[in-house]
Symmetry: D3
Subunit: 324 residues, 6 copies
């Protein structure tokens, strides 16, 4: 039987297949009976699972980050789908098709790396090309850069999410740069590459997605500055000539100012045209991506409006579907 992906599940479905599990907890209900609660995911989304009358035995049968085989039935509870689990066990190796759990296939990731490389190798500024090579040739860095998510929650939390966002942003940069000759296009391409690279260390993503201690205490804006400094020194060694100090300074500034406002954690406001452009285009790409998914996955399927998103201060209009 082919897999039913999570975003395909409707209410009252019977399910018997593999999921990725996280956030397992043993809880007691009001009567003091224990139950097991887990978060189950595949590459299309996640769903909460509850197993009634479960105990220590079930709880110890698997760990967060494991693939588990789950049997159960879906139901709608307080407007959200959940899965009433009747059996949950660590999956056997041959049961798992890893591609079911990654929104991006290895081939897609390779393709993204290809586009990334093309954008970077296509820069005219030899210093920046040289600097980019220092990153591209650093296997450890690239391994992290291609695996890191763009965030730990919702639509940003998937392997390759960071790479995906960066390459998409570079595409936008390339599309827009001919229209603004006053902006240094190479600097903008390079800025798009490095602006979020601190996330490779800010987040952990080997088993589920979370913030590292350093990520929470220091943050990716500050962390990336150190990485850039080290790579600029490497670039000097590689080329045998000094890396222009103003160039590295402009890149560092783009990194620390790219959230655009103090209240969003930027210690500096954008003070160059490239920093202004990076901030706004990054914002454009991130918002169009996440708002689109908010609307696509909104549970109010028969309303022309999404639920209210308190953090954004608004609902979104999905349209009446009456065509035009």
């Amino acid at each position: 039987m082919p897999r039913r992906f999570i975003h395909q599940l409707g209410p009252q479905e019977h399910v018997d297949q593999v999921f990725l599990v996280s956030q397992k907890q043993l809880r007691s209900n009001k009567n003091g009976n224990l139950y097991l609660q887990v978060e189950l995911s595949d590459r299309t989304g996640s769903i909460s699972g509850r197993m009634w009358n479960a105990g220590d035995f079930e709880y110890r049968g698997f760990d967060d980050g494991d693939y588990v085989r789950v049997e159960g039935n879906t139901q709608l509870f307080q407007g959200a789908m959940q899965l009433i689990v009747t059996a949950i066990n660590k999956a056997r190796f041959e049961e798992v098709d890893e591609s079911d759990f990654m929104p991006l296939t290895p081939a897609e990731i390779d393709k993204l790396v290809g586009r990334l490389t093309t954008h970077l190798r296509g820069m005219n500024n030899p210093h920046l090309r040289n600097l980019a090579d220092c990153f591209l040739l650093d296997k450890d860095f690239m391994s992290k850069f291609t695996r890191a998510p763009a965030g730990v929650k919702n639509h940003h939390a998937y392997t390759g999410g960071l790479l995906h966002h960066v390459v998409q942003l570079m595409d936008v940069v390339q599309a827009v740069r001919p229209l603004y000759p006053q902006v240094d296009g190479d600097l903008l391409v390079m800025g798009a590459f490095v602006h979020d690279m601190g996330k490779t260390e800010e987040l952990s993503y080997d088993r589920g997605f979370a913030y590292t201690d350093e990520g929470q205490l220091i943050g990716h804006l500050v962390m990336a500055v150190g990485t850039l400094e080290r790579k600029a020194q490497e670039a000097e060694k590689l080329s045998g000539e000094p890396f222009p100090s103003e160039l590295v300074l402009r890149l560092k500034h783009m990194i620390v100012s790219h959230h655009g406002e103090y209240e969003f954690g930027s210690p500096k406001l954008p003070m160059t045209l490239e920093a202004v452009a990076l901030h706004l285009l990054d914002n454009l790409d991130a918002k169009l991506h996440s708002f689109h998914l908010l609307m696509r996955d909104d549970p109010n399927v028969d309303s022309s409006w999404t639920t209210y998103h308190a953090n954004l201060g608004r609902k979104f209009f999905k349209g009446s579907g009456k065509g035009d």
Copy 2:
């Protein structure tokens, strides 16, 4: 002798040529002596002029909005260039070359109208194409749309400024739309066209640039909504079929939300992807344009930093010019 444009003038230059005059005032200095103060402009910028010991006779010799022939000497005063005027008279018709006073030549404006038309006629949605035609065929509207400035101050205040910004924004929209299939590109093109059209009535621009009473009391966001409603009715008559109500609603929403935040005078936050994209791309185009000119025209010519702009909360970095 060829004209010295305002942005070419250095200190201690003798000048005898035509300017556009505005904001004339008769003032008295501390000793009670009167002097005449005016703002003189050409297509490259503006400069303050002061004529010492002037009186009612000089004051009545011309009106704001006239072309005047001015003789005098430039000097640097408190970091800014000004012109000490020794003679100022209404210019004779044959002395004036109008092209000196418009950053955009009629030919350039025609070219912009051509690009505008191409963008609008290229839309796939027949309703929107039809609606666009109702604007393009409205001579009175187009006359205003091609003359209006984008603002009354600084770099936005020139004939054709609105058209210039709108066409530039449309170019950006076209560049970016293939990258975001989830966004309705035609709606975004049309939104770029209409978002600021209220400025044709919010501002007056026959003699100098100013706000109309309605502009100040109601504002271009609200004013454009009425215009759009009337044009949608025209489009229905023209085509003989109803204009899709959701489509006009989406356009109206893009207009009222395009400042993006309540504090910038938008009565609604962007609640569709097209409204989100319009807000951010409009912001991008406006900021890259105006910040670029702030940096280009900054009076601190030998500093790598502009003066502090209190309304923006920052200086801008022009660079050390040491090359990279």
Copy 3:
């Protein structure tokens, strides 16, 4: 047996009577059993109802906006009263007394319309009187204006609520105007009439109360401006003389600025004395009305304080009742 109105109900009462139903939902509890949840109202308030072990049959037996006959028992749950429903069916025509569901009787509404007309016909300015007549004679408009609620939630959500608030506000305007000769009293009366009229289209109120799509995307401040423009044109036709443009401009300004601050969705701040007065008196009437009801209906009956209202940042002091 006489009706027990909702605001009279105490815990542990048996109920068998007609309610207006809305927000029906089929939900499942933790054990996966379905239950039906509804909101039941009459003219004194609303109460949640839950029917355990209900299913598709019960769910399809009626629609939101229907009158339903409900049998059940009240109980206190987490500080709030709810009704445990044992039977719910569409009511027969003869079971319903519509006056039980409208806080305002038709006679009361007629009386309010009478006061509205008196206020408007009593204006000295013939242009405004003329304009007011264009509204009063428009049957479709008046039908909506007398039915629309003032909001979709809580104490503002009842048929005739808009009219009620407007007439009350006009009373205040008339009381205050002799004290402020610098304010144009007629303009203030007319402003009170039109300031919220956009709500006739912003809200839907034929079956329950909700926002229309246009209401959410554009808002009643902007919507009313178009209505006013059309009526001013009618007034010109009716009278055969031009309607003073500044007068209509001042009214439009009062509409768009009456929320008083950008953050409350006004695209303009009040810039005339009449706009300032309208904003503050509207605020006075709305707050005294709603805070009064918050205090009257507060569930903490034996406390001298209401619950904390997070959106208002405070509790209200009901008094110790120890008399003075």
Copy 4:
């Protein structure tokens, strides 16, 4: 020759009459020459005066708060009228007509006190009437209450300004109270009386208007609470029965919350209906008064707009004067 009042003065007028003087300063111009700068006022407004080449002798010839006889000529300087002084001397007693310097005549003040008394004696609540009498019979208090200004700057700075505002506010309270039976009208009348009484000690007004040290360090909201406590104790003695503690508490709350928001110096938000009403009606009266005078006295006499008021974030629309 009859007096030319300050709000009648145009440019280029010769003046020789008595003014009230304040803020005298000896300054030096750029060349190091000293001049005398003073603020001259009468009951219609104030004007800056400058006496060139003045020295210590002129400076010592009078004190702030004196009446001085001034000779000089008016002129417009940077958009504002000023007086170039040629002679300034302490006025002789017989030259001064005190009524020229008080916007309110003693008769007008008496009339205001009469209205105040009528409002207070008309309250139904015997406790509040009793409390009011304790104030009215306190000669020292009433002397201050009838002399204090409502503020130290602009339109609020005149003898009797506090009384004027309070009585006007009481009139509004009386006009509005029949419309809101849920509000305790007597409490609102009494609240209007005491809300700003702390200004009698916050400000000094024997010679010009200024803040006292206590006024700046503690503020009139807090200072009035102590006064009220003492008067409530007096009222108990006077009547021989206890003053209801909740009543005095409600009054104290109205005082400390009447600025309505934390950011305006209220340590508490209004939490009773009377406190809400007092805040909004106080606001109404203060704003209609001061905005009216801003518009009336605006120096841009031939514009339909006032200058921009940065602290209010707006201009005001005076109207095109084209009639309606």
Copy 5:
């Protein structure tokens, strides 16, 4: 069996001992069955208790503020410990050991009073020493001052909490004062003493902890000003010489400004060095105390991070415990 203190309790423990009870409520669950909910506390913290199928009999068996003997079992519910109660009865006198319910023993409180007295008697300024004595000798005041909590919630809610904070703050003041000779150290000591004394009346603490009506409507900042005025008058009588008015003014200012910002309820910003220092040191002491306890008592025992505290906008880092 020795008492198990609340902060020692783990899941699945049987309990049979005395607690202090508060917030008793009779509730019904979804099925309409009643249960009893209470808050149980001892000096180490508090825990929720629920008794299923309880009714009016159990509810009336004790009052809030009573000591009760409770039998039951602990369990983890939704991440928090609770107690499933099987029996609850008013405790007999001999069952109660009051020291189990006070974080501070009488001896500790006496010791704190001793330190308080030493700090106050050690001041050099005789006026302040004299004023301090008026407080220390006022038995009623001291009785309240030594019993009042510092707040009604969490770590501030315990008998003696106000005294504890004040003495700790005085210790800090004494430690820091030699380093800042520009600050009047005596004033700072006295300010530390009186800054929060309004809490003795703002809060009620005889049976559980709550705000008084006056506390909520006026607040401890304003309430303390009146107390200080009365004590300064007493000091004058005691010493027979006038109390320096500026000194009492400076103390009043320190009280009303000690929250430091308008948004935290201070009607004035600190405008003296002593007021600035008091605000910051009070902040230091309060934050180090409460953040420390947040971290110590955080339920995520195996995480290096506390839960997210929305009101503080952050988590706290407890450390990985890997040592250093």
Copy 6:
């Protein structure tokens, strides 16, 4: 004749002595005549100087950062003292007494370094002691650390200002740490040392005080993180054992969060007790220092209030001087 220090100068004094010069500018007055403007300073403050009718010759006679001998006369202009210069020339070596220009003598700086060293060597944690030694032994670092100012303006702009603030802060830390055993005192001492060390590169201070490009674009909070990382690596080499990663993380967090709020440029809020304490104590020391000097040097010598400081939103109370 002994030097008259700037803070001793009154109006109308003749001056002929050496100053440090900065910000030289050639300006033209309204009549087009040039004059020279300079800022003159010694260790007690700075004063503006103007030389009328100066030209290119005078302008080129010295550079910013030179010691110059100046002859002229003081005068009060618009409330501020200035110097009308009649002669200005580069000073000869033997005319300059460097101690007149440094608020701190070399001996005082040595003493501060001594206290710094004592504080650092006194830490119990061997890792931190080791790390501190890496800084203390780095001559280049210490040379900068002992010369850097704490800011570029006003009271923070003097050689050694950074060191002065840091040592003073350490003294406070030592005084307070015994009172808070929950805080790691060594970490707080080390945090006080490194929190502002980024200023050694953020500012330039060889000739006058200014921001470096990197200082403005990146800021000292971010810059210090890189420095700390490098020193921690040195410490590892020095000691031959790994530096605890959590310890360096905690220090980095203290640096990036020490401004305490996003709006003051901290990309992270304080999330450890040491970071909270560092932020508040840093604030205490900086404010008591600068507010004290604002009050001491306030030009309103005969008022009990300073001028209004718009950036701080307040005046300061200097006291009536009537004693207490």
